[in-house]
């Protein structure tokens, strides 16, 4: 039998606000334990939350960028459960009245564009972190993260394959980063993903029982964890069993999901409206102001790159995934670089060099203008494409302009015909045997002649001029 998977994702995105969602404590990552806390985020008796307006703005930004309806009335709710990292004994979250609903985003998979519904986006506070002593006798609680603002972005069960799920995550991450509301860093936990997965016989309309997969803590595990879970559920069904509703944990070391708790063991969170915070009724003018301030988003930018720069779809896609990359590209082009050439260099040599050092485009030691400068040296015939590769690496290492490197290293291409002719004549004068073989029909030897002249000119001979000269002299 053929099966179809049905996947929905719940994504938690840590918002890039300076301060926490209900108090003025800093949100910076990596500070000493409990140094970014106050009576409010520690949950001391009698303290009260006050909503960070910036967090609300970020949630609305995200909702607008994903075509959501922004609620005219939104409320916080308490989600009650006991855990040491949850200082109040409840998480202030949203339940009945989320800030955003009914949106969507588009993904491209195998050349097809697919619309994925977004059920809701709500705001909530993060919990702290438990730290367990190695000896096992004590645990400690770090509440720096408690109260850091999160958005939970819940998709409709519109995804059908692990590949689609990964594409959805990539697109969502791109949008969040474009908006500047989340750094999208899954390894540091600022972007987290839970997946609801079920499988049903292909063609069946009703949904089958789902399992929720938690702890997918890296980008590359999104596909892997879902793939595993689909295989597992199909096997359960084919063995005559039934998939049970449960929460499962992804174990990246073992590459499997394992049962964490069943439906019966699920918490009863006893949600109720948060009485310490007043309902949110966003001012419509404010919302429209936020809408007007949205940046050009990845899809629009990609379309524009194709139309404006004549780039292939694939290139436009790659270049627009990150706003900073797209900006870099546009700066290089506006500095005089030819679009396709800039794209090729960025996707090729530049990406390789950056990846080798784990650097982002923001940490790139050379500027778009410098790349445009190098491209113009190629265009002018000052250096060859081949030499340019060396020059480019040098630019990357030293931060110097291409023209400076070319001059310092004497890499200026020899385009002077008489100079090249001199070298060719010298070579031909001592290569009688090879000339005869070439004339007898062994045309592959042309490469030998080119190589020898290049060696003699330290690679600086203009390749086109050299080829023409050689062909002419050898055939005469």
């Amino acid at each position: 039998m053929r099966y179809e998977a049905v996947i929905g994702l719940e994504v938690h995105a840590q918002m890039l606000t300076e301060t926490k969602i209900f108090c003025g404590c800093a949100t910076k990552f990596g500070a000493g334990p409990n140094t970014q806390t106050c009576p409010v985020c520690i949950g001391m008796p009698g303290v009260l939350p006050v909503l960070n307006r910036r967090a609300l703005e970020f949630a609305i930004r995200t909702g607008l960028a994903t075509s959501c309806t922004i609620a005219q009335y939104s409320r916080f709710a308490r989600k009650n459960y006991f855990y040491p990292d949850l200082p109040k004994g409840y998480q202030t979250s949203q339940f009945e009245h989320p800030i955003c609903e009914h949106g969507f985003l588009e993904i491209d998979v195998d050349g097809e564009t697919k619309k994925i519904g977004i059920t809701r986006i709500h705001m909530e506070e993060d919990a702290g972190k438990n730290i367990h002593e190695d000896s096992g006798s004590y645990s400690y609680v770090d509440l720096n993260r408690a109260g850091v603002p999160l958005m939970e972005i819940v998709s409709e069960p519109d995804l059908r394959t692990p590949k689609e799920a990964a594409a959805y995550m990539r697109k969502l991450r791109a949008i969040l980063r474009y908006l500047g509301v989340c750094d999208g860093n899954m390894d540091q936990g600022s972007l987290r993903c839970d997946a609801n997965v079920s499988v049903r016989p292909a063609g069946q309309k009703e949904l089958a029982t789902r399992a929720e997969i938690k702890n997918i803590n890296s980008f590359r595990f999104v596909e892997k964890a879902i793939e595993y879970e689909i295989r597992r559920q199909i096997k359960v069904v084919e063995d005559g069993g039934k998939v049970v509703q449960e929460t499962r944990l992804w174990d990246s070391a073992k590459g499997i999901t394992e049962s964490m708790r069943s439906k019966e063991e699920a918490h009863d969170y006893r949600y109720f409206p948060e009485p310490d915070l007043v309902p949110i009724v966003p001012d419509r003018n404010w919302v429209e102001g936020i809408r007007a301030s949205l940046p050009e988003l990845p899809d629009a930018k990609k379309k524009r790159f194709v139309a404006e720069y004549g780039l292939p779809e694939q290139d436009a896609s790659l270049l627009t995934e990150e706003q900073a990359v797209a900006d870099w590209f546009e700066k290089a082009v506006s500095s005089g670089g030819q679009a396709k050439a800039v794209a090729n260099w960025m996707m090729g040599d530049l990406t390789r060099l950056l990846n080798d050092e784990g650097r982002s485009i923001g940490e790139c030691p050379l500027s778009p203008k410098q790349m445009a400068g190098m491209l113009s040296l190629i265009d002018q015939g000052t250096i060859s494409g081949k030499i340019a590769k060396t020059v480019f690496e040098d630019m990357y290492r030293t931060g110097k302009d291409a023209a400076v490197i070319v001059k310092e290293k004497g890499l200026v291409q020899i385009s002077d015909v008489s100079e090249i002719e001199k070298a060719v004549d010298e070579l031909l004068a001592r290569s009688q045997k090879e000339i005869e073989r070439y004339r007898a029909g062994d045309e592959k030897l042309l490469g030998f002649f080119v190589g020898q002249v290049m060696k003699a000119t330290r690679g600086k001979a203009n390749p086109q001029t050299l080829n023409e000269l050689l062909k002419k002299k050898l055939s005469s």
């Binding site: 949950g43 308490r78 006991f82 006893r270 007043v278």
Partner: protein, 484 residues
């Protein structure tokens, strides 16, 4: 008269005239505490050292003639309001060692005026109760009859004011916790409109109902204290951004033509005959001052107690979850995390608090939420609508504060439902969010005080105070002091 028996405005006048110093009045109050506290047990913590320091500071600051109204005035604070560096227990074992590193907004405002803190007063644990018998530490006695309870939960504050162990006090009122003890102790207790006073630093019992207010010896004092503590607070988003008038400005104004509503549902069977008579007499007195009385109906009053015990306990079950032994307060080491939680909370909370946590947890549980919490919210709206409809007809609503005078210690401790009915006339006011005051309106044949409740429109404490003052000035109930 001894200084400790005077009110804020009288002390203020004497201080301003330089007849006395804050040290004099503070000494008088602490002399009184030394003399009677053993019998009253109003305080969980007496802060004599702080008081001496604060009085000296006030005396030093009042060199000019622009002293703040509360400057140098000894005030007692209910022990559920956080005071920086001073034990704040909520009369609970679970916070028995808790010293807040921050100050509540109301006490900050008082501190800004150079008030003198006399101490932290006893309450029913976490403000849950009507007699202070639920305090983990002690039961406060009614100064009019020390065999009887002072009411609650702000029983310590009301008793301290009545006994002269402070000049005025702050209480908190979730279902009657200021007005009921004020009535039973023969003093003035005002619950402001929900949102009038910041709750920041008030240890939450039921967030949507809790409100801090003054407990004083007379109406003018209540207005003066309310002036200080009112106002929108950026730390409390439920505090309302409404202007704060000078509440003393309306005192002494004529009440002729004022319409007073008498809700027929509030004169119930089983009400104490002497209370009933005192309240009816008080209504006649208001009429003689030019007000007109009209029967009104608050048809959903019969559901108020049930509604309150669903909503207040639901919020409490969540508000009290933070007392888990992890971060501060009382902890019992357990064999594992769950055991630590269970031991800490089993031993840290008293029976009434546990009863309410269980009630509230049940009401919010999946499958019961719609039938209890949600239904109660709907009824709450109906109760609020009742008041709004009545206030289209009348300016104020007048009722008894309590159905009976102070009862004896132990009389109702075995019957929580009977205890809950002590608040039957005060609870609706919290559910509706409107302001209500209790002022003395008589004494029973056993010399126990009776309280008159006057309820006003949202944010219209002025009319409440105006009528209260007019009544008070034409009677002498507020002049009486218990023989101790």
């Amino acid at each position: 008269m001894e200084l400790f028996n005077l009110g804020i405005h009288e002390i203020r006048a004497m201080l301003d005239r330089k007849e006395i110093t804050s040290k004099d009045v503070t000494d008088s109050v602490f002399g009184r505490i030394d003399a009677v506290e053993e019998r009253i047990r109003a305080y969980v913590t007496v802060t004599k050292d702080e008081a001496v320091r604060m009085a000296a500071a006030a005396d030093g600051a009042t060199g000019s003639d622009t002293a703040a109204p509360l400057s140098g005035i000894p005030v007692a604070i209910k022990d559920n309001m956080c005071t920086k560096g001073i034990l704040t227990t909520c009369s609970s074992r679970i916070l028995g060692n808790f010293v807040p590193p921050y100050e509540s907004t109301v006490t900050s405002k008082l501190t800004d005026q150079h008030y003198v803190l006399t101490g932290k007063t006893n309450l029913d644990e976490f403000a849950m109760g009507s007699s202070t018998e639920n305090s983990a530490f002690q039961t406060t006695r009614n100064p009019w009859d020390t065999e009887r309870i002072p009411g609650g939960s702000s029983g310590g504050s009301a008793a301290a004011v009545a006994a002269g162990e402070c000049i005025a006090a702050l209480g908190s009122d979730t279902g009657g916790s200021i007005r009921q003890p004020a009535a039973l102790c023969g003093v003035v207790g005002l619950k402001p409109t929900y949102g009038r006073v910041s709750r920041y630093g008030l240890v939450a019992f039921a967030s949507s109902l809790d409100q801090i207010g003054p407990i004083t010896k007379n109406v003018r004092d209540a207005a003066m204290l309310l002036n200080v503590i009112s106002g929108n607070d950026p730390k409390d988003s439920t505090s309302a951004p409404v202007a704060v008038p000078d509440f003393t400005a309306v005192l002494g104004q004529d009440i002729r033509g004022m319409k007073i509503g008498i809700p027929k549902e509030y004169f119930i069977e089983g009400m104490d005959a002497e209370v009933d008579a005192s309240v009816r007499e008080a209504i006649r007195k208001l009429e003689s001052l030019g007000a007109t009385a009209h029967e009104v109906s608050l048809p959903h009053s019969g559901y108020a107690v049930a509604t309150y015990y669903v909503l207040a306990t639901s919020e409490a079950s969540s508000n009290l979850a933070r007392y888990d032994g992890v971060k501060y307060g009382f902890r019992v080491e357990g064999k594992d995390l769950l055991d630590m939680y269970m031991q800490t909370r089993s031993q840290g909370f008293g029976p009434e608090v546990k009863r309410r946590i269980m009630l509230g947890t049940y009401a919010l549980s999946s499958g019961y939420y719609d039938a209890y919490y949600k239904k109660a919210q709907q009824v709450r709206t109906l109760i609020k609508n009742d008041f709004e409809a009545a206030f289209k007809e009348v300016d104020l609503i007048v009722t008894p504060t309590t159905p009976t005078p102070a009862f004896k210690m132990g009389e109702k401790t075995d019957d929580p439902l009977q205890m809950y009915l002590a608040d039957i006339f005060t609870i609706s006011v919290n559910l509706a969010g409107v302001p209500g005051i209790s002022i003395p309106c008589g004494f029973t044949s056993q010399n126990l005080p009776v309280g008159l409740q006057i309820i006003g429109r949202h944010f219209d404490e002025e009319t409440v105070l105006k009528a209260s003052y007019a009544y008070e000035q034409s009677t002498e109930w507020h002049m009486r002091r218990p023989a101790l």
